[in-house]
Structure formats: structure tokens, C-alpha cells
């Protein structure tokens, strides 16, 4: 073999090695881990955990450590059956491993014969032995586990609580600002009776503009706190809040349009003209806006 051929062979071998390496890594990179506990929630150490690939029937097993934690690496992607059996009980779960994924499957040892399947990733699913109608595992006092609640249902969620706290804080400010906004809003509507008159003086119009501006500013702050309040996932909106939000789609645009039309009407009046064109809509738009705002306020305050 000449130097050229040797170099070619070396290059081919290098390319093959580079291609093969990630392929091999992809094949065996899935990992399964979890914690073994008994029905009281205590970890069960040193228990044997077995997995079986349901497509190939290829078995693998490991032993949980002193904290009840087990890890099985280098598993090919696919559907597996995970089983654990000890003096404290047994259980079996099904799990699907994606390529390169690390899947966590915690197993609770059932005192009664193991359930056939635990649906991984569904917090509502509970081992058959912990359903409410199953016999209690305690001889004296029942426990929450006896009632069949899932860990997710029982678990404290401080992050969610913080989100709810923030939401309430912001909506309280929204509510108070909404109430405060009502005062200049009413005053603006009242002063509008003189603002559009035939009087040559501008004092009443100026007052109307000033109150309208104040209303707009306060309204903006009110709206900001509602819009920026955190949304809570998986909450279907029911009740008066739906009407309250529907009204916002009327008074929101109205609060933008009203001052624009008002500025046009103000300009026309100051020029000694009669209010004409689109500016004539200032009054009706303002009334609809104020009405929608009032309806939104009442809808969350009173029960109909």
C-alpha cells in the first residue's frame, strides 16, 4: 500500500469513526431513574428494579441506593415495563423512553399484589391499591394515601402561590383604580353638558378637557394592572368575569377614540365652528364608553 492509499484508508476510517460515534451515542443515551417508596411515603433502600423492553424483551436491572433512588442508563428508545418487588410490596409501571431522554418514574410499593400498569406522566392516575375503595393499609387511622390522592394533588406549590399572590395584588390595585377612575369619569360626563354649548367662553370646555384627560390617565393605569396581572394556566373563565372582560373590548377602544374625537371637536369649537364631521361622534362614543365602563364595574360587584 502506497502512501496515498494509506492516507485515503486513514481518512475513510476517521470519517467512519466520526459518523459512527454519534450514532452509537444516540442508540444508548436514554436513562430511566426514580425513587422507590412504600405506601407511607418512606423511601425503600437497596431494592431491585427491573426493566424490560416490550419490543425486544431485552431485560435490564439495577439496585436502588440507600436513598431508594435507582438509575438505569444506556437504554434504547422504546416502550418499557418497570417493575420493583420487595418484602414491603411490589409495583409495575409502563414508560416510553424517547431517544436521548431522561425519564423519571417513581414507584410506590403496593402491599396488595402489584397493579398491572401505572400511567407515567398523568398525575390523576393512581395505583389501584390506593384508590378510595381499596382496603386501607393501616389498622388504625386512614391516611391521605389511603384515599388515593396523587402526589401532585397533595404537593405544595410555592411558585403557584406566589403567582396567585401577585395576581391578587395587581387585581386589587386594578379594582381600586377602577373605582377612583369612576369619579373623574362621572365629572367629565357632567361637565360635557356645558362644554358643547353655544357659549363663547372656554372655561367649561377646558374643565371638561382637564377632567377627561385625568380620566384617561387613571383609566390607563387601571387597565395596565388588569392586563399585566399573571394568568393562571388551565383556568377556564366562568361567571361575571367574562362579561367584565367583554365590556373591556368596548370601553378600551372607546377610551382611546373619545379623546381623539374630543380634541377634534375642541379645535372646531375654538375656531368658532359648529362641531361637524366625525367629531360629532365624540358625545355618543363617550356615552357608550362610560356605559360599558359602568357595566363592567357593576358586573363584578353585584350578583344578578
Amino acid at each position: 500500500m502506497g502512501p496515498k492509499a494509506a492516507t485515503l484508508c486513514l481518512a475513510v476510517a476517521l470519517i467512519l469513526a466520526l459518523i459512527a460515534s454519534p450514532l452509537r451515542a444516540q442508540d444508548a443515551s436514554s436513562t430511566l431513574s426514580g425513587t422507590i417508596t412504600d405506601h407511607t411515603g418512606r423511601v425503600v433502600p437497596n431494592v431491585k428494579v427491573s426493566v424490560k423492553n416490550l419490543a425486544t424483551s431485552q431485560p435490564a436491572e439495577t439496585q436502588a441506593n440507600s436513598d431508594g433512588i435507582y438509575t438505569i442508563s444506556n437504554l434504547a428508545p422504546g416502550d418499557y415495563e418497570v417493575s420493583v418487588s420487595a418484602a414491603e410490596g411490589a409495583n409495575t409501571a409502563s414508560v416510553t423512553l424517547a431517544a436521548g431522554a431522561s425519564q423519571k418514574v417513581d414507584l410506590v410499593l403496593n402491599v396488595t399484589p402489584p397493579s398491572s400498569e401505572v400511567q407515567v406522566g398523568n398525575p390523576a392516575a393512581a395505583p389501584a391499591a390506593t384508590l378510595p375503595n381499596a382496603p386501607s393499609t393501616s389498622k388504625t387511622e386512614p391516611s391521605l394515601e389511603d384515599l388515593g390522592f396523587s402526589k401532585t394533588e397533595i404537593q405544595s406549590n410555592a411558585a403557584q402561590q406566589a403567582l396567585l399572590d401577585k395576581r391578587t395584588r395587581m387585581l386589587k390595585i386594578h379594582q381600586r383604580m377602577g373605582l377612583i377612575t369612576t369619579i373623574p369619569l362621572i365629572a367629565t360626563v357632567v361637565t360635557s353638558l356645558n362644554a358643547g354649548g353655544k357659549s363663547e367662553g372656554t372655561a367649561s370646555r377646558d374643565l371638561h378637557v382637564a377632567l377627561g384627560s385625568l380620566t384617561g390617565d387613571l383609566y390607563g393605569i387601571t387597565a395596565w394592572y388588569a392586563i399585566r396581572a399573571p394568568r393562571i394556566d388551565r383556568t377556564r373563565k366562568r361567571g361575571p368575569i367574562r362579561f367584565h372582560e367583554a365590556m373591556a373590548w368596548i370601553h378600551g377602544p372607546g377610551m382611546i377614540l373619545t379623546p381623539i374625537l374630543g380634541a377634534m371637536a375642541f379645535e372646531q369649537k375654538n375656531d368658532g365652528e359648529k362641531v361637524h364631521g366625525i367629531a360629532q361622534a365624540h358625545g355618543p362614543v363617550a356615552i357608550v364608553t362610560a356605559g360599558a365602563f359602568g357595566a363592567a364595574l357593576v358586573s363584578v360587584s353585584l350578583k344578578f
Binding site: 378510595p132 375503595n133 382496603p135 386501607s136 393501616s138 389498622k139 388504625t140 387511622e141 386512614p142 391516611s143 391521605l144 389511603d146 384515599l147 388515593g148 390522592f149 394533588e153 397533595i154 404537593q155 405544595s156 406549590n157 410555592a158 403557584q160 402561590q161 403567582l163 396567585l164 399572590d165 395576581r167 391578587t168 387585581l171 379594582q175 381600586r176 373605582l179 393562571i232 383556568t235 377556564r236 373563565k237 366562568r238 361567571g239 361575571p240 368575569i241 363584578v300 360587584s301 353585584l302 350578583k303
Partner: protein, 175 residues
């Protein structure tokens, strides 16, 4: 063979005599506000009673978030003020003599865990109606916000009343 028989006999002696299982329930809280009244209902309670040597220990639990007032905004606010994400379950424990199930009225001492607090309610009265193997139990738990150190929620700056009576309707079955 004899030791095995004795062992089985002894273990049976200490086993639970029988159990009660909660089959159906309706729990309703009532809140009063100067502008209106509201109530939240949950049908998601689970319960079990284990009877042994003439005494029955009961546990009833219900997730806070399952109470529905028909207003999602109010329900979220209720979960927030009761710290329902931090303490997601309401649990009620009580111990009753087995013979109580034969009475038409039960007076129960209740230990209720809610919003991270434990409150005790003495001699709460429940009516019992027997239907075959099942017992229908109804009553009102005279709970207040201060029992659980809950700040009264407010609407339009007006706080709700301190009293939040909980109306209980349960159907238990002996197993």
C-alpha cells in the same frame, strides 16, 4: 402448623374490624358580603373510616381547588387567600364510637386542617339517615375565617363576613 395458625389468629386480632368508605359528597361553603352572597361547591371529597375495637377513625379530604362558585375569578381569589397552592388539601379527622352509626344524630369533635392551620370544632351535630348499608350524613360546620387565620377577602374595599359555614352532605358505605 400450629405456630402459623396462632400467628394468623393474632394478626387477625389486630386487623381493622371494618371500614367506612365515602361514596358521594357535596361540600358547600357560604360567604357573605354586604353586596351579595356566594357559595362554592365541591363533590371531590374522598373519605375513609377505619373501625377497630369499637372506635372508628375517619379521614375526609378534599382539594381546595375543586370548590366551584361559578365564577373563576372568585375561585382563584379563594385559592389565593386560603393559600390553596401551598396547602392544597382540606382534611377533616374525627373519631367516633362504632355505635354512633346507629344514632340519628352524631355529635363529632372535628380536627380540620385548612390553609396551613389546624382548628378544632367540638360537638358538631350531624344528622344520620340509614338507607340499607349506607348512611347519609348531613350537617353544618360552623367555620370562620379567623379559625384558619385567613384575611377576609374584600370586594370594592368591603370585606366579607367572618363566618363561612360549611354545609356537608355525605353518603358513607360500610365495607
Amino acid at each position: 402448623m400450629l405456630p402459623l395458625f396462632l400467628l394468623l389468629a393474632v394478626s387477625n386480632l389486630f386487623a381493622a374490624d371494618h371500614q367506612w368508605v365515602l361514596k358521594q359528597s357535596t361540600l358547600t361553603y357560604h360567604v357573605s358580603h354586604p353586596l351579595h352572597q356566594s357559595e362554592g361547591v365541591s363533590h371531590s371529597a374522598r373519605g375513609k373510616g377505619i373501625c377497630h375495637e369499637g372506635q372508628c377513625d375517619f379521614l375526609i379530604a378534599v382539594p381546595v381547588k375543586t370548590f366551584d362558585s361559578g365564577d373563576s375569578n372568585r375561585d382563584l381569589h379563594m385559592i389565593q387567600v386560603t393559600r390553596g397552592a401551598e396547602f392544597p388539601m382540606v382534611t377533616v379527622r374525627t373519631r367516633l364510637p362504632e355505635a354512633a352509626s346507629a344514632s340519628e344524630t352524631i355529635m363529632a369533635d372535628l380536627e380540620i386542617e385548612f390553609a396551613g392551620q389546624t382548628a378544632h370544632f367540638k360537638q358538631v351535630s350531624f344528622q344520620v339517615v340509614t338507607q340499607g348499608n349506607e348512611k347519609q350524613i348531613s350537617g353544618i360546620i360552623p367555620a370562620t375565617l379567623t379559625d384558619f387565620k385567613i384575611d377576609p377577602p374584600s370586594l370594592l374595599t368591603l370585606p366579607v363576613k367572618n363566618e363561612i359555614p360549611i354545609h356537608v352532605e355525605m353518603k358513607w358505605s360500610q365495607e
